[in-house]
Symmetry: C2
Subunit: 383 residues, 2 copies
């Protein structure tokens, strides 16, 4: 078994686990920084290790289009290409085909679409997606699915779901037919939009295929938070305890805590790095817009007590200046802080689960996170 | 004396020296990375130390406009603001007032101009420039000068030079009137455009004021390389042996070697970081455009044998991908390499001067640098 359940929370569905991959173990619950184009934006691999990244995400769609498969093959896969020796999970490209590309045409065989870079006609199918993920050297591959938009009517969702299930079977078959030593883990994806019955059907049917883990897809696609929570609540009960569960594309810090309580083990999200590039930092009591004039004389770190590389050395006032002056070091420092914040949050969650204190942590964290008031950490002598 | 002449080259005017500043010694000849807005673009302070930076440049004009003097005062100067504990040289703002700002009006008192950021009316004078540089905590301050454009007629150059000399006297006076323990080094600037007589007059008159060092200004302003060399050749003979000489805003690697041979000790230039952001890397045999398709399967480092952080870990093929995909890590890696290249070149020059082999090094380096041919370091299995 690739997944070990180390302990469970008595007051919620939360679990502490360990996922064994071809590049080592991943302690769950875990957050996976997103490395869309063969790099986690603005971060070097050694910095990712310093902030505590155990596993990162690679994007099949993006790497397929650029640099392209001949280059990825030449460099021996994504790990060697980007100099990252820890686990990598690759998505299937499904989400990107449906969110980024234009003029797509879905058939039973797969999806014809045009590259968002140069408009070139492309084709992805379940088999091609798995072949690409295998070529990338992915430790955890994802089944190729249709990611539904929000909102979406029942008829479309039901038909799409059936096709996604047929595609899932083809993905699973492709992977299990590989020689054992080349076989990555493969996760199925629960779809079904906002419909309880479809989520149940998707989960039950996926589980029958015996995937190594299960993702909940079609969340964080613009729906209200309550719908997101419902989609997860409607999926989790039908997933086996002995396999990891991954909520795709989530979320804010309190959403992650709430999702862990609902039984989710794995997360990925662009928020920490995307908001960093806009000057927004995460703290345990909310986000901070570091462009704010309030911080111009601020001698304090982004978050008092934080031991990330940015907070150990640099002030809010300096980082604010860098962001206002559009200097790269500014978004680098906030990216370091935000990723450390997310990864440290997951470390805290794991510690609380082991100590049996997760429920208390959950309540305090979610309550604190809402109490954000902008304030300056220092009273300066700024006249 | 703040400057020690350690040895001189028997075949040229090249010198090996040591400049003592308030934040430690600087071994010359030296290259100073440019930190225009309180950061060397894309680089963190610890990375600057790793590539071997002994001293960096700060820009008075930029920091005066943004973040502004109240903030710089609050943070206790530039060293603490940006977390850099080694020496800093600040320019006077003269060059930027004349190259970046609009609607400038020069009077005997100083220069009225409009901010290039928001158009706000501003004023800089010799005394204000020195006061700002002192407030920034600069270790080496520069006199406030008018930097002539190229080309420029004799009448304008001669009149401007007289005013620049009067301004230099005011700058020198402002600094020497400071209490001894607060007094930074102050360098005069030789102007005079392309006119031999004016360069001589500027140098001789500046030297009479007894500055701690002398810069050669008004070079690298668009003139042909031969004019640049002539301007330096027309200035150096009138400068004292026991003071450091600084050629402002230079240059390409062979230009630096040639300038050292002409007796220059200090350099600053945006080329290593600016070209990095455009995908261009320096090597000992010329520049490399890493966007080139030639490098897409290239498993080799930017330069074989280079021990910089980029070359130790990352391939040309990967860096090319990052630059094409407009990923920040790409320009970070080339910035690291380029700055290491410049700083290591100066280290080599110092070593050759100490070993008495500078002349041979100069000839080989300049000859090699010209022999650039694009080529791929590896023959890939890329069909």
């Amino acid at each position: 078994m690739s997944f070990q359940l180390l302990c469970t929370d008595s007051t919620s569905r939360a679990r502490r686990g360990r996922l064994i991959t071809g590049h080592g173990a991943v302690e769950t619950p875990i957050f996976m920084p997103v490395g869309t184009q063969g790099t986690v934006k603005a971060m070097a691999p050694d910095e990712l290790k310093t902030v505590g990244a155990q596993i990162i995400l690679g994007n099949t769609y993006h790497l397929f289009l650029r640099p392209g498969l001949d280059i990825m093959r030449h460099f021996g896969g994504l790990h060697r290409f980007m100099s990252w020796d820890r686990p990598i999970l690759t998505d299937s490209g499904g989400f990107q085909v449906f969110s980024l590309s234009k003029l797509r045409h879905i058939t039973e065989e797969g999806v014809h679409f045009n590259s968002h870079i140069d408009g070139a006609p492309c084709f992805l199918s379940p088999e091609i997606s798995m072949e690409i993920q295998s070529l990338l050297g992915s430790d955890i591959t994802m089944a190729f699915d249709e990611c539904l938009p929000y909102p979406c009517d029942w008829d479309y969702a039901a038909n799409s779901l059936e096709r996604t299930l047929r595609w899932a079977k083809r993905c699973h078959k492709w992977v299990v037919n590989l020689p054992h030593e080349q076989r990555p883990l493969v996760f199925g994806i629960v779809q079904g939009g906002t419909f309880q019955g479809l989520r149940e059907k998707s989960a039950r049917s996926s589980v029958k295929m015996n995937f190594d883990g299960y993702a909940i897809g079609g969340v964080s696609v613009g729906e209200p938070e309550s719908e997101m929570m419902r989609a997860v609540d409607n999926s989790i009960p039908f997933l086996p305890e002995d396999r990891p569960r991954y909520a795709m594309g989530l979320g804010t810090p309190p959403q992650l805590v709430e999702m862990v309580a609902r039984g989710v083990d794995m997360f990925d999200c662009v928020l920490p790095t995307r908001l960093a590039r806009n000057g927004t930092a995460f703290t345990s009591w909310g986000t901070l817009n570091l462009k704010n004039n309030l911080y111009r004389f601020d001698n304090g770190p982004i978050e008092q007590g934080c031991i990330c590389g940015a907070c150990q050395t640099f002030t809010r006032g300096y980082i604010r200046h860098l962001i206002k002056a559009e200097e790269i070091l500014g978004l680098r420092l906030i990216s370091i802080h935000n990723l450390y914040f997310y990864l440290n949050l997951m470390q805290q969650i794991r510690d609380e689960l082991e100590a049996g204190t997760f429920q208390r942590f959950r309540e305090i964290f979610v309550a604190n996170y809402a109490r954000y008031e902008p304030s300056c950490t220092t009273k300066g002598n700024h006249q």
